[in-house]
């Protein structure tokens, strides 16, 4: 029954391709679709029957009445979920510092009364370019602008921010954070959003 090494090598890679390249991923797909259909298909969010995004994937926001996401370096537009990516700029790269200065200026321009320092995550691009979260500090920084644009009492907006905040897992893993798309959807649901 002993084969030659060449024939064994070929047979082995074919067997493994079938087992680990077809049977295994198909089996996982089947079980995942059965047990976790929502998350296996992208944790999609719908409004009035149309898909308006994924709770895990960030979207670009530029309107002052919305909370803005973290900057994204994807091409050719921000939060392009068809091609994820980062700036890969080094902190010593003058181009990055110019970009950060421009983002800070845009934030200040949208809310000239706000003289608080800008939290770092709100002016730095994420690793995926699809970061769905901002820090609590970044949400609070933008809160006066959003409340004013929507003519809402800041305390109401604050309640929504708190509701869209996730803490650290087990108090230890990751960072407390706010899901921007869910927060903006909640704001839109409140009504009173002049378009």
């Amino acid at each position: 029954m002993r084969g030659k090494p060449v024939s064994r090598a070929i047979r082995m890679i074919v067997i493994l391709t079938v087992l680990t390249g077809l049977v295994y991923p198909f089996a996982i797909t089947g079980v995942a679709q059965l047990l976790f259909p929502l998350s296996a298909n992208g944790s999609l969010l719908t409004r009035n029957g149309t898909v308006i995004g994924s709770e895990l994937i960030g979207q670009p926001f530029t309107d002052p009445k919305y909370f803005w996401s973290r900057p994204s370096a994807t091409e050719p537009f921000s939060d392009n979920a068809a091609l994820s990516g980062a700036s890969n700029d080094a902190p010593t790269n003058p181009a990055l510092l110019q970009t950060i200065a421009r983002r800070a200026q845009e934030l200040r321009h949208a809310d000239p009364l706000n003289t608080a320092p800008i939290p770092v995550d709100l002016v730095t691009a994420s690793g995926s370019g699809l970061d769905p979260h901002i820090s609590i500090a970044s949400a609070l920084y933008q809160l006066p602008r959003v409340a004013r644009a929507r003519r809402l009492d800041p305390s109401i907006v604050r309640t929504l921010v708190d509701r869209c905040t996730e803490g650290r897992t087990f108090g230890l893993l990751g960072e407390p954070r706010v899901n921007v798309l869910q927060l903006n959807l909640a704001l839109d649901r409140l009504g009173g959003a002049p378009r």
Binding site: R2, G3, P5, S7, R8, A9, R11, M12, I13, T17, L19, T20, G21, L22, Y24, I28, T29, V31, Q33, F36, N41, G42, T50, G53, S54, L56, Q59, P60, T62, Y66, S78, D79, A81, A82, S84, A86, S87, N88, D89, A90, P91, T92, L97, A104, P119, V120, S126, L130, P132, H133, S135, I136, A137, R168, T169, L172, G174, E175, P176, L185
Partner: protein
Amino acid sequence: MTIVGAGYIAAYLIALLLLSKPLGAYMARIYQGERTFLDPVVGPLERFVYRLAGIDPHEEMDWKSNAIAMLLFNLAGFILLYLLQRVQQWLPLNPLRFGPVGADTAFNAAVSFTSNTNWQSYGGETTMSHLTQMAGMTVQNFASAATGMAVLALFIRGLARHSARTIGNFWVDLTRSILYVLLPLSLLLSLVLVSQGVVQNLSGPVRAHLLDPTVDASDRPVMEQSIAMGPVASQVAIKHLGTNGGGFFNANAAHPFENPTPLTDFLLVLSQGVIAAAFCVTFGRMVKDPRQGRALLTVMMALLTAGILATTFAESASVPTMTALGIDQHASPLNPGGNMEGKEMRFGITPSALFATVTTATSCGAVDGMHDSFTPLGGLVPLVMMQLGEVVLGGVGSGLYGMLVFVIVAVFVAGLLVGRTPEYLGHKLEAFEMKMASLLILIMPVTVLVLTAVAVVTAGGRAGIHNPGPHGFSEILYAFTSQGNNNGSAFAGIDAGTPFYNLLGALAMLIGRYWLAVPTLALAGSLARKNAVPPSDGTLPTHTSLFQFWLTAVILIVGALNFLPALALGPIVEHLMMIH
């Protein structure tokens, strides 16, 4: 560093140690051919595989037959993966109708995935069909990991045996690595990943209406977001367990669909260390002296802990250039602080810094934040972790056999100092062993430094640079360090998708993998043949704290002598420029 950050690091190290013992004991049974609780399920499948492949599981082979088997299996895998990428346009499961992958990129990717490097000069979601990801990339994630594990099992048998001609059977070790270790763990992990939000489907991209439409770079309106999908969880699980590291998506483990929550981040970074750590325990059991395995694990954990702490400190400090712009970088319960460029909010500083250190220490190479955007010293640590030769945990299998070569060198140098014949685990270390060990330790730095030098002085090499100044040099040094050590992570600003980098990089990966694996097997064959030397008063014990300290020093001195000049030109001078 914050208190939560310190707790996170401690939790990681403790979890790694706690898991390594039972898994290591289990793997010792696997490689000694003993029965395990999985036998009723996996046993029939295992025997079926042997029958189909024409393998006699009881056949014992010498080191040469094993080396030939390993090389032929990897060659077959390489050819299949290359062809699959080149003909994917005619095959099913290609919802975006991707054309064939370019010849030089496909060549680089095929070398990269068969050599357990998983360097990627392409973006997954815009290049590879679902079928290529599954039947190509995923298969090599298993096959290349199991190759490393099999070579280690053969090497350990070389150390455990005396007066023996054979060191086991590559085919059996390969099959058992996959069926008893990698596949069951991957099944478990991929389902946990899906439950957390990693996608697992065969669909094309989903279109979503943007809440706040935007414009693209040429001011055209963008109303929709096209969200890439695919069979991600099944690939990501083995990508970390097998220390492969090649992402389904371009952004790798920073992508929310590969790594959606802090919990998945912790599990993934744990997965990439756990098999390598467990192998130390396996080694101790197989040579019938658990203290030997514990000693090596201690050395690895000490170096790893130092690296994690250094990266965390570097990344959590304020970047002076950003402070000057009035940006708040102080960590608080509301603000992650530190250097957040290229990092994900859900992870923050400490988990990203720990991930970067572990992924380079283990030769995994997956990233959950972009190393190119790390501070100069934060990027230095991942470089050093690789430049030590991927022996701090290292790749599954390859890490421990690399470490054992350092042990042989350490024993030899210690023997020279006291004027006694060096011996390790009852084997006399003689001229042949030292030739092989020197070769194994010198090939990597020579490859990395020569190729870096070539790239720096040629137009094709310099064309790939993204960041100006010393950081641009670091990008080139990182690229060849990563490929020469089969890591696969990158200072990803570098444009490596050119024939120059694809071909030169492939050369580095081939040398880094096979030119090391074959002398390792030769060493195993030679050690197994030797007659047992009973320990005497003059034998240097290799499990004591003194020896652990000595081994650490040897690893650090060899690494420092090789790479300090290059590091001084890159991250070190960049750091000095930044703080001024």
